[in-house]
Amino acid sequence: MKHIGKPVRRNEDARLLTGKAVFVDDVHLPAMLHAAFVRSDYAHGRIVSVDTRQALELPGVAAVYTAEDLGDYWRPGPLLVPPPPVEEKTFHARTQVPLARDKVRHVGEPIALVLAESRYIAEDAVELVEVEIDPLDAVVDLEQALDEQAPLIHDDLDSNLSAEVRQSKGDYQGARRQAAVVVRRRFEYDRGASAAIENRGIVASWDGRDQHLTVWDSTQAPIPIRNGLAEMLGLSESQVRVIAPFIGGGFGPKIMMFYPEEVLLPWASMQLQRPLKWIEDREENFYATTQERGQIHWAEIALDAEGRILGVRDDFLHDAGAYDPYGLTVPINTQCTLLGCYQVPNYDSHFKAVFTNKPIVTPYRGAGRQHGVFVMERLLDLAAREMDLDRAEIRRRNLIPPEAFPYDNEIIFQDFRPLVYDSGNYPRCLERALEMIDYDDFLSRQQPKARREGRLLGLGLVTYVEGTGIGPYEGVRITVESSGKVNLVTGVGTQGQGHYTSFAQVAAEQLGVGVEDVRVVTGDTREFHWGTGTFASRGAVVAGNACHNAAKDVRRKILEQASEALEAAQEDLVLEEGKVYVKGSPESSVSLGELAVRANPLRGAVRHGAEPGLESTSYYGPEQGATANGVHAMIVEVDAETCQVKIVRYAVVHDCGRVLNPLILDGQIEGGVAQGIGNAFYEQLHFDQTGQLLNASFMDFLLPTALDMPDLDMDHFETPSPLNALGVKGAGEAGAIPVAAAFAQAVEDALQPLAPGLEILEIPLSPNRLFEILSEHRDRRDDGRGDA
């Protein structure tokens, strides 16, 4: 192949690196007003009164809206993902509201919208809005959310249960009776913020003369936003244009809809007949943008005497936050992904999702998969230790063999179907990772040597699958213009993953042009009507294959035109470098531009039934997702005195089917690993018992910097997906998924000489938390000695 699989530099980078790319905050319109929100200071409480009079008197304030002012426009947001077709389930949909009316349910929930001549004045006015709230006890701790005495977050429910689901296969209890070893533990995985470099933002502009609404929105899903806004505002879809310009990172929270700000600004713009802008500031982002990751598991694995998994049982609590607009996606992903790369004949998984007085939980890069991988991989480590089995060996014995594909894991995934792994070679990935991290040498030489020198080195080794590329569909329209350049338009949107290049590569492959000759347009509903959005590691699979299909069709049209123009049979034609010629005679060629002109016939040249143009629109909707997989291995060194952890080596083996662009893929993996390291060791949202977030700034919410990133040693295998023509699988979330599990294992391994038998059963960690874990372990040991 000429373009696919090549490390092509990104078409969009020149614009991005020279500061010419347009983000929402770059949109400045004449007479634009600026928005700021009055947000709840309390995590839970009843609103007694909201007095806006003083704020309205401040010069420069144009309007202040409360829930009451919205009239009929006030309504809870849509349920984005209905519950999946699982038999044993309960689900209570309680979706977010545009402005809190009777109650506030998390700190930062919007209560009033202020619009003023500048953001400064708007924030001054926010301080003048008097909100009286009668505070209620907050539900913060997951394990207390379902207590009978727990305060009710949604008064019309009889508990704080958002959902309850059981999925199972086989007969776990029966399997357990056969087991030689059973390991059971409690695992905890806490929350973080996705912390995209660009916060959310919206500019809404209603043009009264044109009766047309334009909205710039930093969203991963411009088309559904357009559809929803039109419906809510009583407009036709053609009256609403949503532009998602360049997005400075989405990671999932920007697929959430509708955020209160997204509902309110377009409406207010129509009320005031003026353009409005709201840019989320970093502090707001910690409250107003969705978060993820809080779960507590009680999990058990049963194995036979050889270390083969007989079954797994898992009971977990999932933190839904104050509302549950994204349905069961996150905990369902956890439930399904826990099974990982392994043959698990018997599985019994049950979860309860609970409402808490914390910001809403929706998918964030990994979207629940992390938790499943963490639980399963930790169980395997603990079982291996108990059985005195090597960590790699226990995994080797349980991997799904290459000949078992397609492999049905039977558990319903986020696309509502049982996850069937389409292809893969898991043992090959494992063996390669062992080789890359020098596994045998580490165990036999490096680690013992370090321990003799008093240094604490440890290794983590973790496998994972990533279900990717789910439906429903995406579409692409490709046009060869009379200049010979290619225009490629899609509705999928983008969040910085390099779509301007990878889609161009797929098109260029078929069309015999350079990658830089393909102009990709995405994220503008005026350009393409249909689509879903960029989430769930689906862009390359779903939009990529739509590109491929459209490009093949345009190629067919090119060759038809050329065949006439050159008076030669199509099979004798060569299409390359923007022109077509007869094999062996490159000197007499016809350019794509000339062919495009021919395809746009003049009077008298039109044939009955013909469509103009070298153009094609194609849609692709996969019946099921494609499953990528990988292995991460890392070596850490822990400072026994300060509990600081340094990642010394990091190896990634990854298989996402055919690679479209290795540079982009490596970038995806690196970024994912960085977020995974953040999740494992830096990023934790500390809520106190009243639901106040104690670290809502980058001074206290720590992200790993370039200095904290290890060098990654990466290798890719390409087991093509049989499900789509390109053979691709998604890669967007892969990097982030297994990191915490590998980190916990590596740190635990490193600390063994200092604290024999120590177990690490939680994420995130920190030096302070490791110090506490070590102290607790020491105390327990001392107690144990006392008993003996």
Binding site: R119, Y120, D124, Q644, N695
Partner: protein, 301 residues
């Protein structure tokens, strides 16, 4: 995250600045490098009615040699200038060693020495360095000037002895006696973060005596800390334990333990519990003393 409105003044001389300060007093805040004040204003945690911007006053930025030994540094000297000053490097190795640990180079390009000291963040490195160096501060109002020792300048949590109409104008960092060695240690989550605990050590040995450390006697010992109390703090008991003793691993361990367990009573927060801070103090003190001794011995060669 936008500040409320404020009046802005940009004096061209320090006299002008002091006049403004006496006029506005407590309503005014001095804008030096702005690396702490501006974020605090954006969070609306600081709401000064008046800002007096010293950035137009060239006279307050200098690093010169003090006649009696030591360095005089103008309060508006950028931290990066202090960091790269060869005078500071030669006269005050402790200050030189501490500078790269103050936030990030981008921040040090704007941040000033005087700004950091007057802000008196308990987690800041520079107040503890000044305490260890027995630095002296020149404070001025529009009528007079006075000199304060570092230990009298820092009075508590984000608090100094500066009166409402006073401005910190100059810092004098004296030279250390011969046969002195210093060390700076901190533990932060990421490089450039505020430390969870930090330690400055200064050891001075008696002159003469043999080559090995066992032959030495400690003439003076200073141990100061940051991020473990409401301001920079000295470990008095640990210091007195070292005085007159011959440096040895066991002695340093005892001093480190005393500093952590007796002298200091560190607070806890989301990043470090009191127990973890004590642990860090002990570790950092041990490391800092060992390095300070090594430097002091080198000074004897």
């Amino acid at each position: 995250m936008k500040p409320p409105a404020f009046d802005y003044h940009a004096p061209r001389t320090d006299e002008e600045a002091l006049d403004l300060l006496s006029r506005f007093g407590g309503e005014a805040k001095i804008l030096a490098g702005g690396q702490s004040l501006i974020p605090a204003m954006n969070f609306r945690l600081a709401r000064p009615a008046v800002l007096i911007d010293l950035n137009g006053i060239g006279d307050l930025a200098y690093v010169v040699e003090e006649a009696s030994g030591g360095v005089r540094i103008g309060s508006m000297t950028r931290q990066r200038t202090v960091e790269t000053s060869s005078l500071v490097r030669d006269c005050s190795p402790l200050l030189h060693a501490a500078m790269p640990w103050v936030a990030h180079v981008q921040i040090r390009n704007r941040g000033t020495l005087g700004g950091s000291l007057a802000h008196a963040d308990p987690a800041a490195e520079l107040p503890a360095v000044m305490l260890a160096m027995r630095a002296r501060f020149r404070l001025e109002n529009n009528e007079d000037e006075r000199w304060l020792e570092a230990r009298d300048f820092f009075t508590g949590f984000f608090a100094t002895a500066l009166a409402e109409d006073e401005m910190l104008c100059e810092i004098v960092v004296p030279c250390l006696p011969s046969y002195s060695g210093t060390a700076f240690r901190e533990f932060a989550r990421r490089h450039g973060d505020y430390a969870l605990a930090g330690c400055c050590a200064v050891l001075t040995l008696e002159e003469g005596q043999g080559d090995s450390s066992a032959d030495q006697t400690i003439k003076d010992a200073r141990l100061t800390y940051f991020s473990v109390a409401d301001g920079p703090v000295e470990a008095v008991q640990a210091q007195s334990l070292l005085l007159g003793q011959s440096p040895a691993e066991g002695l340093f361990a005892e001093a480190a333990y005393t500093a952590a367990q007796t002298d200091l009573d560190p607070p806890g927060d989301i990043h470090a519990s009191p127990a973890f801070r004590r642990q860090l103090v002990e570790v950092l003190t041990g490391q800092a003393l060992a390095e300070a001794l090594k430097k002091a011995l080198e000074a004897k060669d």
